[in-house]
C-alpha cells in the first residue's frame, strides 16, 4: 500500500482497508458465506498462513517533521496562540520540575522520583485535546497531564514529600499523584491494573459525553489485564481511549523482548477497536489523534487505541541506571535530533510566537517557581502520625481504635524517643 501521504481522518479507513484487502485474497469461493458464529468471513481453498507481513505495518501519523515544519498545511491544527503557548509552557515546566525533583532524590531529600524526559508531547498533546470532565487513569509517567490540568507545582512537591498538604496524606510513594478535583485517578503501583479499571469507569460514563483516557506502556501491554481491558472495552462498548506510550523500554527490557509483531497498535483491530498510531514526539499529532479519538469515543460510545511511538530519554526511575542496557549514543541521538519540546519550540518560532529571550525568561521564572514550591514543601510538617490509622475502613473499627490509643499512650510515655516535632498536631 502506498501510504506516503497519510491523513489522520483516513487513519481508521486505511487500517480497515488492510483488513479488507486480506479478505479479498481469501475470498475465492463462490459458495455461500460461512455461517459459523465465531467469525463473519468468507471461504477459501488456498491454505496459507496469515502472518505479520500479510498486512502493511500501521503507519505513524505526524504533523511536523523533526525540525518543526508542518508537512501538510491541511493537517495543522488551528489552535489559538494562547493554547499553543500554554502547551509549550507546560512541556518546558515539566522539564524544569523533573530536573529539580530528580536532583532532590539524588540528594536524599525524597525517596524516589521518575522523570518524564522525552515523553512531554504525549502528555501535553493528549491532555490538551480532552475536557477536564474526562477521567484520567495514568500509569506513573504522566505528570505532564496533571500539570496541564492545573495541578500546581506546590501540589506536586507536597505529594513527593508526603507532607501535611499532600492530598494523599503521605500514604503513597513519590509520583503517585491523584486529584479528585482534576479527575485524575491516583496512581497505583502494580502495572496495568488501571486498564480494566478505566474500562469500568468508562462503562459507568456511557452516554454522558465524557471519556476515560487510560495511559499505559509497551511493557504493561504484556500484562493479562491489558487483554481483559481491550476485550471488555470492545464488547461492552465503552468510551475509553487507551493511550500507549511506547517508549521502547520497560525498565531495561527492550520492545524486541517485550513483543513481536507490529507493536501495540496492531492489537487494536484484532479486538475490534479503532486504532491510531502517532508520532509521540510530535505534540500537534498527538493532539489531533486524541481529539479524533475523543470525538469518536463520545459519539459512538466505543473504545479507541492510540499508540504513541516515542523514546524514554531519562532512566526508568531513580532506581535505574539505563547505561547498563543501552548506549549513550542512542539516547543522545533522540535527545538531540527528535526531542518533542525542541521540535515544538521550532514550530512556535516559525510562527513568531517564541524566541531565545522568551525562552530564557521562561526558564528563569520556572526555576524560581519550582524552587519556591520545593522550599516551601520541604519545610512543611508531616501529617499527624495518627493518620496512619485512618482510611483503612470508612469507619474505624475497634481493633484499629485500640492500636491508635496504644500508640498515643506509647508516644506520651516516650515522646523524647520519636521525631514528633516533624509531625503536625
Amino acid at each position: 500500500m502506498a501510504l506516503s501521504k497519510y491523513s489522520i481522518n483516513g487513519a481508521f479507513r486505511v487500517i480497515s482497508q488492510c483488513l479488507s484487502n486480506q479478505r479479498l485474497i481469501l475470498h475465492k469461493s463462490k459458495h455461500t458465506q460461512p455461517k459459523f458464529p465465531g467469525a463473519t468471513t468468507s471461504w477459501t481453498q488456498k491454505l496459507q498462513f496469515t502472518e505479520q507481513n500479510s498486512y502493511a505495518p500501521i503507519p505513524v501519523y505526524r504533523v511536523m517533521d523533526s525540525k518543526g515544519n508542518i508537512l501538510d498545511p491541511a493537517e495543522e491544527p488551528q489552535l489559538s496562540n494562547e493554547l499553543l503557548l500554554k502547551m509549550y509552557h507546560d512541556m518546558s515546566l515539566l522539564n524544569v520540575m523533573d530536573k529539580i525533583l530528580y536532583e532532590s532524590q539524588r540528594q536524599g531529600r525524597i525517596s524516589f522520583y521518575m522523570t518524564n524526559y522525552g515523553e512531554e508531547a504525549t502528555h501535553i498533546g493528549s491532555a490538551a485535546a480532552l475536557n477536564i470532565e474526562d477521567w484520567v487513569y495514568g500509569q506513573y509517567r504522566e505528570a505532564g497531564v496533571l500539570l496541564y490540568r492545573g495541578f500546581s507545582l506546590q501540589e506536586f512537591v507536597d505529594q513527593c514529600y508526603g507532607n501535611i498538604d499532600d492530598v494523599g496524606q503521605g500514604k503513597q510513594m513519590p509520583v503517585h499523584y491523584g486529584s479528585r478535583k482534576l479527575n485524575f485517578v491516583t496512581i497505583s503501583s502494580p502495572l496495568a491494573t488501571q486498564m480494566p479499571q478505566a474500562v469500568g469507569s468508562a462503562y459507568a460514563m456511557k452516554g454522558t459525553n465524557r471519556v476515560v483516557i487510560c495511559y499505559f506502556g509497551d511493557g504493561s501491554a504484556s500484562e493479562g489485564d491489558a487483554h481483559a481491558a481491550f476485550n471488555f472495552s470492545a464488547t461492552l462498548e465503552c468510551p475509553v481511549i487507551f493511550f500507549c506510550r511506547n517508549n521502547g523500554y520497560a525498565i531495561s527490557t527492550p520492545v524486541e523482548e517485550q513483543y513481536r509483531g507490529d507493536g501495540i497498535a496492531s492489537k487494536g483491530p484484532s479486538y475490534g477497536i479503532h486504532t491510531l498510531r502517532v508520532d509521540g514526539n510530535d505534540v500537534l499529532a498527538v493532539y489531533k489523534a486524541t481529539q479524533l479519538a475523543r470525538e469518536y469515543a463520545t459519539k459512538e460510545n466505543k473504545p479507541v487505541l492510540i499508540e504513541a511511538l516515542t523514546y524514554r530519554v531519562g532512566d526508568h526511575s531513580t532506581s535505574d541506571d539505563s547505561s547498563a542496557y543501552r548506549s549513550q549514543d542512542e539516547v543522545l541521538d533522540w535527545a538531540n535530533n527528535d526531542y518533542p519540546t525542541k521540535k515544538f519550540r521550532l514550530y512556535l518560532e516559525s510562527k513568531g510566537l517564541w524566541d531565545e529571550d522568551k525562552e530564557k525568561q521562561f526558564l528563569q521564572k520556572s526555576r524560581k517557581d519550582v524552587l519556591l514550591a520545593f522550599n516551601a514543601g520541604e519545610k512543611k510538617l508531616k501529617p499527624k502520625w495518627s493518620e496512619m490509622y485512618n482510611d483503612v475502613y470508612k469507619f474505624i473499627p475497634i481493633h484499629i481504635q485500640k492500636q491508635k490509643a496504644d500508640m498515643k499512650k506509647h508516644l506520651e510515655n516516650y515522646k523524647e524517643k520519636y521525631p514528633l516535632k516533624s509531625f503536625s498536631n
Binding site: 525517596s111 506513573y140 510513594m173 517485550q258 531513580t318 492500636q403 520519636y418
Partner: protein
C-alpha cells in the same frame, strides 16, 4: 509489574544501617568467611544450574540486567539465553510458563521482582503448581521454585510492603521457606531447587546486602538444609521467641538486651513456614514455659496465630505459665513515612517489653 521500577530501589535500601548490625548467631562458624545473603542465593542458583541442566531461571530483568536486586548477577553471562530468561511483564504468563515447564520435567526458578507482583500470578501458584500433583493422582509433579523478595522493604509504601508468609503457608501442596541467614538462604534454596514439589521461597530485600558467617560446609556445593526444620539461633531457658526472616534479627537483638537483664531468651528461627517445625517449638516451650511469636506480617490468621493455635491444641499448653503472645506488624496497610513505617513493624523494644510483661519483670 509495578511501578515496577518503583521497586528496584537499590538506592532506598537502608543497607548501611543493616550492614552495621551485628550478627548474634551462636553458630560455630563465627569468625569464618562472611557472605551476603545476595551472594549466598547467587551461589546456590549457580551451583544447582551447574549440577543439573534442567534448572533454569526465568523472570523480569533476570538476564542482562542481572536481576532487579542483582541476585542473578553473572548467570546470564555464564549460562546464556537458554537458561537465564528475561520475560515480558506478565507475571501470570511467566508463572504459568514456568509451571508448565516444571510439569514437562524442567526445574524452573521463577523469580518475582517482588512477591507483591506475584499476586498477579497467584492462581498459577496455588491452583496449578500446588495442586497438579494431587489432581493428577501423583502422575505430574511440579518441581518449581518461586522466589523473590517478600515483606517490607524501606520507604515503598502499602502496595510494596507486605508479608505473604501466611498467604502461601495456608495452602496444601506448597512448601514455604522464609530464611534468615546466608547459610539458611543457600542451604534451603538448594534444597528447594532439588525438591520434587513446588516451593515458595520468601526472601527479604533488606537482608540481601547483609553478610553472615558461612561454615566451610556451607561454602561447599553439596550444602543442603532440610525443608521443614527450624533452627535454634540462640539457646535460653526463660522464654521462647519464635520468628522468621528479618524478625529473627529483631528477636536476637531483643534477646541480647534481655541477657543484660538476666533473662535468657531462646530464639527459634523457623526457616520453613510449611511444613512448620512444631517439634522444635514444643521442646523449647517445655523448657521455658513462655512463648512469644514475632513476625512482620499482619496479626490476623498469621504465622503467630497458627503457632499459638497449635500450642493451644496440644499438651504443651499446660506447660505455659502465661498466655502466649504474638508480636506482629500493625494491622494497617504500611505507612509511607519512614518513622511510621518503623513503628508499624516489630522492633526489638517491642519484644523486650512483651517478654518483661509475661515474665512479670520490671
Amino acid at each position: 509489574m509495578a511501578s515496577r521500577g518503583t521497586i528496584t530501589m537499590k538506592n532506598m535500601t537502608t543497607l548501611g544501617k543493616v550492614l552495621s548490625r551485628r550478627n548474634f548467631s551462636t553458630s560455630k562458624a563465627l569468625g569464618a568467611k562472611q557472605l551476603t545473603v545476595r551472594d549466598a542465593l547467587n551461589s546456590a542458583i549457580d551451583e544447582e544450574m551447574e549440577r543439573d541442566e534442567r534448572v533454569f531461571v526465568m523472570g523480569e530483568e533476570v538476564a542482562q540486567y542481572d536481576g532487579a536486586y542483582k541476585v542473578t548477577r553473572g548467570l546470564w553471562k555464564k549460562y546464556g539465553d537458554k537458561r537465564v530468561i528475561d520475560t515480558p511483564i506478565t507475571e501470570m504468563g511467566f508463572t504459568g510458563i514456568a509451571t508448565g515447564a516444571a510439569m514437562a520435567g524442567l526445574r524452573p526458578i521463577c523469580e518475582f521482582m517482588t512477591f507483591n507482583f506475584a499476586m498477579q500470578a497467584i492462581d498459577q501458584i496455588i491452583n496449578s503448581a500446588a495442586k497438579t500433583f494431587y489432581m493428577s493422582a501423583g502422575r505430574v509433579n511440579v518441581p518449581i521454585v518461586f522466589r523473590g523478595p517478600n515483606g517490607a522493604a524501606a520507604g515503598v509504601a502499602a502496595q510494596h510492603s507486605q508479608c505473604y508468609g501466611a498467604w502461601y503457608a495456608h495452602c496444601p501442596g506448597l512448601k514455604v521457606i522464609s530464611p534468615y541467614t546466608s547459610e539458611d538462604h543457600k542451604g534451603l534454596l538448594k534444597a528447594a531447587i532439588r525438591d520434587p514439589d513446588p516451593v515458595v521461597f520468601l526472601e527479604n530485600e533488606l537482608l540481601y546486602g547483609v553478610a553472615y558467617p558461612m561454615s566451610d560446609e556451607a561454602l561447599g556445593t553439596d550444602y543442603l538444609l532440610p525443608i521443614g526444620k527450624a533452627k535454634v539461633e540462640r539457646p535460653g531457658k526463660h522464654v521462647t521467641i519464635v520468628a522468621h526472616s528479618k524478625a529473627v534479627e529483631t528477636s536476637l537483638e531483643a534477646a541480647k538486651t534481655l541477657a543484660g537483664k538476666g533473662i535468657e531468651a531462646e530464639v527459634i528461627n523457623l526457616r520453613s513456614l510449611r511444613p512448620l517445625d512444631f517439634e522444635t517449638i514444643i521442646k523449647s516451650v517445655v523448657k521455658t514455659n513462655h512463648l512469644i511469636s514475632v513476625e512482620q506480617g499482619w496479626p490476623s490468621c498469621g504465622i503467630g496465630a497458627e503457632i499459638l493455635a497449635r500450642l493451644m491444641e496440644s499438651e504443651v499448653f499446660y506447660h505455659l505459665d502465661q498466655p502466649a503472645v504474638r508480636i506482629t506488624g500493625a494491622d494497617i496497610p504500611m505507612p509511607y513515612t519512614k518513622s511510621l513505617e518503623a513503628a508499624a513493624l516489630p522492633r526489638p523494644e517491642d519484644v523486650v517489653e512483651a517478654v518483661k510483661k509475661i515474665l512479670k519483670v520490671k
